[in-house]
Amino acid sequence: MENRFTIKAGEFEGPLELLLDLIEKRKLHISQVSLAQVADEYIIHVQRLGQVPMGDMANFVLVASTLMLIKSLSLLPTLQLTQEEKQSVEDLERRLKLYEKMRELSVHIKERFGKQILYNRQPSKERPIVFAPAKDATAASLHEGIKRVLASLPKREAIPQAIVRKVISLEEVVENLADRVQRAFKLRFSEFAGQYKEERVNVIVSFLGMLELVKQGIINVTQDSHFQDIAMETTKPGVPRY
């Protein structure tokens, strides 16, 4: 029997949480500029994550790839983004703001929870227990009941197919992005004149290395999926999209 839900709901830091922490640490507001600034640091964190369930790792990598897009754009503003890429950039920014709001609101819960409790009446020990059988309680209905209980136990959650597909296609996306940045970089190389030239070149070279790391991360994730026996369920509505 699957008892995966016994995994403790520990203090697992998610991708949005990590990203927001990095931005807040630098006392920045959420924007494409600040996202570009923390991209490298985010990826270093993700590389160090170690054992994270496949589904969650996919979420980290998806965010990483969007950050790479944002960073590419900040380095080479002339880089053309596809409609889908533009959308995932906007989506990440919006979600991060939404998450930030909820995190702020959770302070109200924290401040109040358990501080001034409203109590119900205690079960009375005075009330005499009078045996009152229920018409619907029979050996057969209890048998049905226990079957229902066992059937509704949580199953091991399948990783939504859409996420797996997205991660796999990401491999190509990152490769493609690396190509595009490299090409745009060569094209524009002459434009990087002046005293900041060297600095700029260094930034882009290290960025390309970073892209390689993201790619490796993606390959890891997709390989994991080959070893795991993933039950491919139909995608539920509202699956996160980056």
């Binding site: 008892n3 009446r121 009152a132 009941g145 226990i146 209980v149 509704s152 136990l153």
Partner: protein, 177 residues
């Protein structure tokens, strides 16, 4: 908060008679002060659905005598009510896996079961026994009355008893991790 309101809160929560001495102690006031506040509370409750009852220097809140008929109909209704899906499932867990702790029932069902368990107890379908492993907690088991009512002489006669008992045990164990 006024003393009479604080007394009201304590009596409401307690659901059983409390002596004047004990009440004064809880509220950290003299018995005289508590007595006076009780008079205030008594006045405020006049005409309301809840009244202050006193007998042999024990004090309690109770439904107003005028609501007697209403309350009686509630008692009857409670006693004849069907258990429904959630009630049956909870009773089934206790029947197949009892004696079992409430925390394990909650864990198996995936929802908090305190209200349902209380209801099953009041109806005499399940009963609470001391937990041999932990004197501070209780376990729940089906009553003899329930067995008889189901037409069984022992629980093992429930359909597929052994199968489900084993399966539930495996799940309940994981809840202790």
């Amino acid at each position: 908060m006024e003393l009479d309101s604080r007394i009201e809160a304590v009596l409401f929560f307690k659901s059983e008679p409390v002596s004047l001495k004990k009440l004064a102690e809880i509220l950290a006031v003299t018995e005289e002060a508590a007595s006076e506040a009780l008079l205030v509370l008594e006045n405020k409750l006049a005409g309301r659905g809840i009244r202050l009852m006193r007998a042999n220097s024990e004090i309690a809140l109770a439904t107003a005598p005028e609501a007697g008929e209403l309350v009686e109909s509630l008692v009857k209704e409670d006693q004849n009510r069907d258990l429904g899906k959630a009630g049956l499932e909870t009773l089934a867990i206790v029947a197949y896996q009892g004696p079992i702790a409430r925390s394990q029932i909650d864990y198996i069902r995936g929802v908090n079961s305190s209200a349902i368990v209380r209801n099953l107890m009041v109806r005499g379908l399940i009963e609470r026994v001391a937990n041999p492993d932990d004197s501070r907690s209780f376990l729940y088991q089906p009553t003899m009355d329930l067995l008889q009512n189901l037409g069984l002489t022992k629980l093992e006669q429930l359909p597929e008893f052994e199968t489900f008992k084993t399966r539930l045990e495996a799940i309940a164990e994981t809840s202790d991790e």
